[in-house]
């Protein structure tokens, strides 16, 4: 009975961030790359068959294409020696424009300033599923490095041919190929001049090992940082075109409402273009003020249905699970050993229930899109983590072939998993078609709160069986709705039953930084502390006793050392706690110290120590920035962020009503980075977040004896109730 039963593969379990392939897809016309790029040397990489569903490319050969359709990255060395790299990945503040350039510079032996990254442009860059799931560093960085290494070899070949010498003693350094014997050198620009060479990378090309890195592994500043501190960079909402109008959408009073009647005569009298298309009502006008006034002048009647409220949310989720017939998704289930037998022979079953509220991403730049039609061709500039996905949405919405739609993604004012969809792009395009001119739509903060989507709420039931010596023997874990990312336990437990139950969500839900890993780690790591407390064992010792994964043990130990775990005595109102785990190929342990004012019952997080390990570090400065940022952002969901709703309306959908972490919430944050040069580099945007909520909850318990099992922990003005 000890055999593992895997009913569905939990490798990448996140249903909320995997986009299904479009229903139909038209082949692109053949591209003449050199006509399109200019002369030079082109190097590209092709994904292995079958990799497309997990990685960046799509394994589809297109007849007639000059290059295979499953290309996932390419690089062009131009005649002036500058290098242009094309990737479908996008920049939303995680600084991959810099880290990917570092990878190319490292392998191509070229100053990083010589590299220009073209990102997220569906006409110029290879197909990419999207920038999510912390995949850019482990996959795209590796692909681009392979392409760059191959390009370097090709340049050496060209030099060897030019000099009629053996390539093996030639080296590439600083944008030149050199012959150490003759001391001759040739600039890359000289080597590629007049060339029209296209080469697929060889299957196995050795990459520079991390121990020898000179550009990677360095804390390079943000490459185009100067454009950001001077206000020169144009985000999607800053885009502008000649004769552009401003669009505005008439929002229904509740989710799912249907339009009964409409009177838009006043808006038309103001000179606005008014569009009514089914439930879609929007206007376009020469200024944003006029479009807002035009929308305000419209009289509309809507019909809406009663809907669940946040007060009854958790009951609702448990009553509306996958037992129903109309829910998509089979759930994920993981069974090891025999849980029922193990519980029968262990002590009393203590089941605990943890809950997690819906939260909003609140990207500081709301969704924005600028759309322009040229005849039957559509171009849209928009902030999205999935430019190709948005292109497909547009093609579907307007019933047109994909090759007539181009989506461009200027570096965007953050996303955190919140910008996977293309509503704003579709709205702008619909209005632009009617107005016969470019139209920009920028959502207001209120629209962003109400009409985007949320991190899924959830209910998690946990029960564990443990021997008096601290060995966990049985583990049962049920997650309702919030998701299956990070649902599996990394503690060694012989009998496990772990089930994800999809549910009917009252609100539109979707991806969010770290996904359900935050909820699942909160429940698991809180319950671990509950077990340790029942056994009167030290929480660190208890974890270590049940943990064999060396990488995870290492981060727990490193954080404990930095935190001085066990050396500080808890006193009334002062508490210490920890949480940690493994997610998206990274390992995190987070320790927190809280003060609780006994009279005011107010909670203050005073210190956070995180130890993080994600393989060989590509950019230590940016990595530290990501870990600190994860902790700061994670404090919101841990302590006070929660969406309140009723009858299809968000009740706290403004910045003044929905609190996010501010300067004054900032604790002392210390970050320990473990650099494993022997391991492949992994992403860091998500994993560092997952240990924080349980660390704070456990610290509050340590300080007060109150066990808080709901996220957010202290929504009521940071007060224990």
């Amino acid at each position: 009975m000890s055999e593992t039963t895997r009913i569905s593969a939990p490798w990448e379990p996140e249903r909320y961030e995997l986009a299904s392939a479009p229903v139909y897809r038209f082949d692109l016309v053949r591209r003449d790359f050199f006509k399109f790029l200019g002369a030079g040397v082109l190097v590209f990489s092709v994904l292995k068959q079958g990799a497309w569903s997990q990685e960046s490319g799509r394994a589809r050969a297109r007849r007639g294409d000059s290059l295979p359709g499953e290309i996932d990255a390419w690089l062009h060395i131009r005649e002036n020696g500058k290098v242009r790299v094309y990737t479908g990945k996008v920049e939303v503040g995680q600084n991959v424009r810099t880290s990917l350039s570092q990878g190319v510079a490292e392998e191509l032996r070229l100053p990083v300033e010589q590299i220009d990254l073209v990102m997220g442009d569906t006409q110029l860059t290879p197909f990419d599923m999207g920038t999510f799931g912390s995949r850019t560093t482990p996959t795209m960085n590796l692909q681009l490095r392979k392409v760059a290494a191959s390009a370097r070899d090709l340049l050496i070949d060209l030099a060897a041919a030019r000099w009629q010498t053996d390539r093996r003693h030639l080296v590439a350094v600083d944008g030149k190929v050199m012959d150490p014997i003759t001391k001759g050198s040739l600039e890359y620009a000289d080597l590629v001049k007049g060339q029209r060479l296209a080469q697929r990378i060889p299957a196995e090309d050795p990459l520079t090992p991390a121990a020898s890195w000179t550009v990677m592994g360095q804390s390079l500043p943000k490459l185009n940082g100067i454009d950001f501190v001077t206000g020169k960079h144009r985000y999607p909402s800053d885009q502008k075109l000649q004769d552009m109008w401003h669009g505005k959408i008439l929002r229904p009073p509740a989710f799912g409402a249907t339009l009964l009647s409409l009177d838009s005569r006043k808006a038309e009298q103001m000179g606005a273009t008014v569009v009514r298309d089914g439930n879609f009502v929007g206007v376009a006008a020469p200024s944003s003020g006029l479009s807002a006034a035009a929308i305000a002048s419209i009289h509309a009647e809507w019909k809406s249905e009663p809907q669940p409220s946040s007060k009854e949310l958790f009951d609702y989720l448990k009553k509306n699970t996958g037992d129903g017939t109309d829910l998509s998704g089979d759930g994920d289930r993981y069974d090891v050993g025999n849980v029922d037998e193990a519980f029968a022979s262990s002590g009393p079953r203590v089941q605990r229930t943890y809950t997690v509220s819906y939260i909003a991403h609140v990207p500081l730049e709301p969704r924005a899109a600028l759309a322009k039609w040229d005849g039957d061709n559509l171009t849209v500039w928009t902030g999205t983590q999935r430019p190709f996905g948005v292109r497909d949405e547009l093609a579907e919405a307007f019933r047109m072939p994909e090759d007539r739609v181009r989506v461009l993604m200027p570096d965007t004012g953050s996303a955190y998993g919140g910008k996977h969809t293309g509503e704003t792009a579709i709205e702008a395009a619909r209005l632009a078609r009617a107005a016969r001119r470019p139209v920009k739509v920028v959502w207001t903060r209120e629209e962003e709160f109400m009409w985007a989507y949320f991190r899924p709420a959830g209910v998690i039931d946990v029960v564990g069986g443990v021997r008096s010596d601290g060995t966990i023997t049985a583990w049962e874990f049920h997650n309702y709705n919030s998701g299956s990312a990070g649902i599996r336990t990394y503690y060694e437990i012989p009998n496990q039953r772990i089930v994800f139950h999809p549910a009917r969500s009252p609100l539109r839900q979707g991806s969010y930084r770290a996904l359900a890993a935050t909820a699942n780690h909160f429940a698991r790591e809180s319950y671990m502390d509950e077990l340790a407390s029942a056994l009167k064992m030290d929480p660190l010792e208890f974890r270590m006793k049940n943990l064999r994964n060396e990488r995870l043990r290492a981060v727990f130990q490193a954080a404990a050392d930095k935190f001085d775990w066990g050396k500080q005595k808890a006193e009334p109102g002062r508490g210490f706690g920890m949480g940690g785990g493994y997610e998206k190929l990274g390992n995190i342990a987070t320790f927190a110290e809280v003060n609780v004012d006994r009279k005011a019952k107010a909670v203050k997080v005073v210190r956070i120590v995180s130890a993080f390990e994600c393989g060989a570090i590509v950019n230590p400065g940016d990595l530290r920035n990501q870990v600190e940022g994860s902790n700061v952002q994670g404090m919101g969901g841990a302590l006070f962020e929660a969406i309140q709703f009723e009858n299809g309306r968000i009740l706290n959908g403004r910045m003044s009503q929905y609190r996010v972490p501010r300067f004054s919430d900032l604790p002392v944050i210390e970050t320990v980075l473990l650099d494993r040069k022997d391991l492949p580099s992994a992403g860091a945007g998500e994993c560092p977040m997952i240990g924080l909520a349980p660390a704070i909850a456990n610290a509050i318990f340590d300080a007060t004896g109150d066990r808080l099992r709901s996220l957010p922990l202290v929504p009521d003005g940071l007060k224990l109730t």
């Binding site: 503040g93 501190v229 001077t230 206000g231 994860s630 403004r654 300067f663």
Partner: protein, 165 residues
């Protein structure tokens, strides 16, 4: 419609617009100064911060019409040619940004703070900047950048004083 006269980044400009129009909309839409950002529309996030006669002000809740006779500085007006303002330099050097959308507002708030308090404590920095949100959570680094800029400005002021003697 109203005729609104403004002095932005040292240049006078005249805008024909609705009398209710916000300073933020005039800057972004009429003057194409898009470095000033929209974040919430209710003065809660600080992304739209500009300097009005040297003081930090939320342009989204400021009526443009009331800004006549005042000197407005946006992020585009901070550098002197290619020479960045010391606060801009410090943000760049400290890597005090991720997506950068809050950065113009953060920088202008910092300039306003340092013009009144050339050696702010950590607590004073937190108090002054608490109305500026960074959703990426780069607060620690921003505090570091403010401190660095303060030190650098103090040194350059000392240099000026020495030069004057």
């Amino acid at each position: 419609m109203a005729t609104i006269e403004l002095a932005v980044n040292g240049r006078p400009c005249t805008v024909e617009a609705d009398a209710q129009i916000s300073l933020l909309t005039v800057l972004r839409e009429n003057l194409d100064l898009t470095g000033t950002k929209y974040g919430c529309g209710e003065g809660q996030c600080g992304a739209c911060t500009v300097l009005v006669d040297g003081r930090a002000q939320r342009s989204c809740v400021t009526r443009a019409e009331n800004m006549a006779q005042k000197q407005i500085t946006t992020i585009e007006g901070l550098a002197r040619g290619d020479q960045l303002h010391p606060v801009q330099e410090a943000f760049l050097e400290e890597g005090a940004l991720q997506c950068g959308y809050c950065t113009p507002g953060m920088i202008l708030s910092t300039v306003a703070l340092l013009s009144r308090n050339d050696h702010p404590t950590r607590t004073e920095i937190i108090d002054f900047l608490d109305g500026n949100l960074c959703r990426c959570g780069a607060y620690s680094r921003i505090i570091g950048a403010v401190q660095k800029a303060a030190t650098r400005l103090a040194k350059s002021n000392m240099g000026k004083d020495a030069g004057n003697e």
